[in-house]
């Protein structure tokens, strides 16, 4: 309420004021959202994970990780530069013995915390300590309502039961639990049961994504092994349980739509920092701006290398030669980073996966529109008669 009153004083509605602040943050490249991967070590070995350290290599990985002092220094820089939202992610964040020290420092510096954890190894004491941190959300992955399928994806026997127990624990401490599901071939069949499980658990929110990111370390895993093909994707989108509000097909020619439609804008108001100090434009786009062990964050952020300047120059679909006259542009939600990993570097080319999703959405939209027009036409005939 006071924000509205405040906005009225400035002659702005609340939404306009927020838009103004967001615009200023973009213009000044304030890193408002930071995704900090503090370790890639994990007590699970999910089949589709883009970053996991294989078992047996944890100690080697641990030695390369940023120290507590290095992490707190970059958090101080980020706070000074205006960063507000901080996601602490992994790997599994809780395998770091100094996790609570890092998170407490972040809280002290006034970040809004999001904590990503697989939730499997949480103890009652750890849950209590997380509650003290007052995170905005605690976000866990769940892959199936069938324990055998969940455990087969995490490759840990008993993982499902432990996650469910810890969802209850987190909720008992008043924490906002956010469940996330990557929809893949292996868990596709039981998604309605899983959605119902999320409702039964009364979690804050439960989201589903069909995208599997390619591995970042030349990992042989291919997203196509796991993610839905076009036929499965169409079935997923068409299911009444998942059907989202599809955007209307633009009446303008594609060139006009491409000029108006923004692409994702990594490195403008956010970034990703990996456990070894590399700063990337986002989780997916793995060309570094630099490394904080070589240059303080506040220096490297404002002096991006040419490859990142090139990325920053792409703001709309019209800036991409292969997209500017594509008939699917109104449905496309391309990811430059995934595309770079999939294409082996040429991130400006057509993102084939995004194209496939756009095609499925367009097809579904046409079916729905035809159905609707068919019903309306029938209504008109009935009215005439």
């Amino acid at each position: 309420m006071f924000a509205e009153a405040c906005a009225q004083n400035a002659g702005l509605e609340g939404d306009s004021l927020l838009a103004l602040i967001a615009l200023k943050a973009e213009q000044r490249r304030v890193p408002l959202n930071v995704h900090f991967e503090i370790t890639y070590r994990c007590n699970q070995q999910c089949i589709h994970c883009y970053c996991v350290v294989p078992h047996g290599q944890e100690e080697e990985a641990r030695k390369r990780e940023l120290t507590y002092g290095e992490i707190t220094q970059v958090l101080d820089d980020l706070a000074e530069m205006g960063a507000l939202y901080l996601t602490l992610s992994g790997g599994e964040v809780l395998v770091r013995r100094d996790f609570f020290d890092i998170a407490a420092h972040a809280k002290d510096r006034g970040f809004v915390l999001r904590i990503f954890t697989n939730g499997m190894g949480l103890t009652e004491e750890q849950v209590r300590r997380i509650a003290v941190l007052e995170p905005m959300t605690v976000e866990l992955s769940i892959f199936s309502a069938d324990p055998a399928i969940h455990d087969s994806i995490t490759r840990v026997s008993g993982a499902f039961d432990r996650v469910i127990r810890n969802v209850h624990r987190l909720k008992a401490h008043g924490l906002r639990v956010y469940l996330k599901t990557v929809v893949m071939k292996r868990n596709f069949a039981g998604l309605l049961n899983l959605r119902q499980l999320g409702k039964n658990l009364d979690v804050f929110t439960h989201t589903f994504s069909c995208e599997v990111s390619p591995g970042i370390n030349g990992d042989p895993h291919r997203p196509s092994q796991y993610q839905l093909n076009e036929e499965e994707l169409s079935a997923y989108l068409a299911s009444p349980a998942w059907k989202k509000e599809l955007q209307p097909i633009p009446h303008e020619p594609p060139e006009g739509v491409a000029r108006q439609t923004q692409t994702c804008g990594p490195a403008i108001n956010g970034c990703c920092i990996d456990p070894y100090g590399n700063v990337f434009p986002c989780i997916a786009f793995r060309t570094p701006l630099g490394n904080i062990r070589e240059l303080r964050f506040k220096k490297l952020w404002y002096a991006p290398p040419p490859s990142i300047q090139d990325l920053l120059s792409v703001q709309r679909y019209a800036d991409l030669p292969e997209c500017r006259s594509c008939g699917l542009v109104g449905f496309c939600n391309r990811c430059h980073g995934d595309n770079m990993l999939e294409q082996g570097g040429d991130w400006k080319a057509c993102h084939q996966r995004a194209c496939m999703v756009a095609r499925a959405e367009q097809k579904l939209y046409q079916i729905l529109r035809n159905d609707k027009e068919g019903v309306e036409h029938a209504d008109q005939i009935e009215a005439t008669v």
């Binding site: 006071f2 924000a3 009153a5 400035a10 004021l17 200023k24 000044r28 000074e80 205006g82 007052e134």
Partner: protein, 110 residues
């Protein structure tokens, strides 16, 4: 004690100043409050070290409005912050460490 004699002290909640505006986050309620330049300045000054009167004088010096209007708007704004449990009105000055985290005001151009 009258409102104008109290010392507004913001709670330890996440916030950032962005240019002349600010964002304040109520994590418990899950709400984001965008503040305009006047609101952001009042919030910034609410460090438990100054009275409402002192804040009103600073705002009057810095913004183009008459003192009576500023006084009334400031009181209204502070009461709403108290109601939202983002700020307390103290009877005596607080040590700087008890106020919420500081945030550097970003200069133009970052």
């Amino acid at each position: 004690m009258e409102l104008h004699e109290t010392y507004p002290c913001r709670k330890h909640v996440p916030w950032r100043a962005l240019d002349t505006e600010a964002l304040v986050v109520d994590v418990k309620a899950g709400l984001l409050y965008p503040l305009n330049s006047v609101g952001a300045r009042i919030w910034e000054l609410s460090d438990g070290q100054r009275t409402v009167d002192e804040i009103v004088r600073t705002i009057t010096d810095e913004f183009d409005a008459d003192e009576a209007t500023i006084r009334e708007d400031t009181a209204h704004f502070l009461r709403e912050l108290v109601q939202a449990q983002l700020l307390s009105l103290e009877e005596a000055p607080r040590s700087p460490s008890t106020a919420g985290p500081r945030s550097r005001r970003l200069d133009a151009g970052g």
